[in-house]
């Protein structure tokens, strides 16, 4: 039998593998406990209008910003972090302009910062960023179906913050690496 015949036979054999398999333990109690929690979305228009979500808005001076001093870039984070504003919400939401600008700056610098890291650290950072961005994409997709879901919107904001924090940590880490080399 040649390799192609062997591989074709593999596919045929695979189609006879069991597709229904019973778990050794009963999984229902865990599921029953989880679905007993009031997590199913039951948003009504009235509730949606009455509810509020934390949205990232303007507030440029309080957002993460860069300070250029003595030709060395320093990332400074205001302790209060991002500024939030209570706002009623409907089908539209947006990240604040200043947040987007700060994020854009960090994204632009990211490749430079990553190049200074060890291959292992770089791989770790890239993996984490990919996970966070994958989550952002999934949440955005879910928001397409449920644009008024406050929990999803809040989760999106939190996830963006995680991405921002990670990019800031990369900046801080590479500066630390550089200063040690300089010594």
């Amino acid at each position: 039998m040649n390799d192609i015949e062997r591989e074709d036979k593999l596919i045929a054999a695979a189609s006879t593998l069991a597709t229904e398999i019973s778990p050794e333990k009963d999984l229902w109690p865990g599921i029953a406990a989880a679905i007993a929690q009031p997590t199913r979305s039951r948003w009504t228009p009235v509730f949606a209008q009455a509810a509020a979500i934390v949205l990232l808005v303007g507030a440029s001076s309080s957002l993460t910003y860069f300070v250029v001093k003595d030709q060395q870039r320093v990332i400074e984070i205001v302790p209060s972090g991002l500024v939030f504003e209570q706002a009623s919400f409907g089908g539209r939401y947006a990240l604040g302009v200043d947040y987007q600008e700060a994020r854009g700056d960090l994204v632009a610098q990211l490749d430079v910062e990553l190049a200074r890291l060890s291959p292992e650290a770089r791989e770790e950072v890239e993996l984490n960023l990919a996970m966070i961005r994958g989550a952002i994409a999934q949440i955005n997709e879910a928001l397409t179906d449920e644009p008024d879901n406050a929990l999803l919107q809040e989760l999106l904001v939190k996830t963006y913050r995680e991405e921002l924090a990670l990019m800031q940590r990369v900046g801080g880490l590479t500066q630390h690496v550089m200063s040690r080399k300089d010594i």
Binding site: T19, E20, P23, E24, T39, R40, M131
Partner: protein
């Protein structure tokens, strides 16, 4: 109206008892695909539970455009992929697999099929996912790639890789399918 259709309608009205009936009807299919894709009992149990919880939360979106089992399959695949993303590295899966029950996915298979099942478990993640969906569950490349969030060409390449690796593995171990 079939029992299943009635249970779906009742569960969509938040009837947990009806949903339990759906669970008993479909747990084998859902757990099966989770086990084939993860190759690990404890991960498959977690994924299957997660899939049913997500299904409950999304039930109002089920319109009957596909079979309920197909809809559940998609949710189960997403649950597996989500869990894989959470595990930082594929090495975590391998480590977990060695710490827990060995060769779990093969328990439902006998004889030479058990050898094949064990070999499938040892495939790299991407190749294993495509092989399981395409060769074991009979999804087309378009369907599999859609479920996995990859290009159809990538699905074909991963299948080619899986076939080659499986053939090598089984040949080395002296097994004949």
């Amino acid at each position: 109206m079939t029992d299943e259709a009635a249970w779906i309608a009742q569960a969509q009205r938040s009837d947990a008892k009806a949903f339990e009936s759906l669970y008993h009807l479909h747990i084998g299919k859902v757990y099966g695909i989770c086990l084939r894709m993860t190759g690990n009992v404890s991960e498959a149990e977690d994924c299957a539970q997660e899939a049913f919880i997500q299904a409950w939360n999304k039930l109002d979106k089920f319109r009957g455009e596909s079979a309920f089992s197909t809809w559940l399959h998609r949710i189960a695949v997403n649950a597996v992929l989500g869990r894989m993303r959470k595990a930082k590295r594929e090495q975590d899966r391998i480590r977990l697999a060695t710490e827990t029950v060995v060769a779990p996915a093969s328990v439902a298979d006998t004889g030479e099929l058990r050898d094949l099942s064990d070999a499938v478990d040892r495939l790299p993640e991407g190749a294993r996912h495509v092989f399981v969906l395409y060769a074991v569950y009979g999804y087309s490349h378009d369907e599999a790639s859609n479920m996995l969030g990859i290009a159809s060409g990538t699905s074909k390449a991963q299948l080619h890789r899986a076939r080659r690796l499986l053939a090598q593995q089984l040949k080395q171990e002296g097994f004949e399918i």
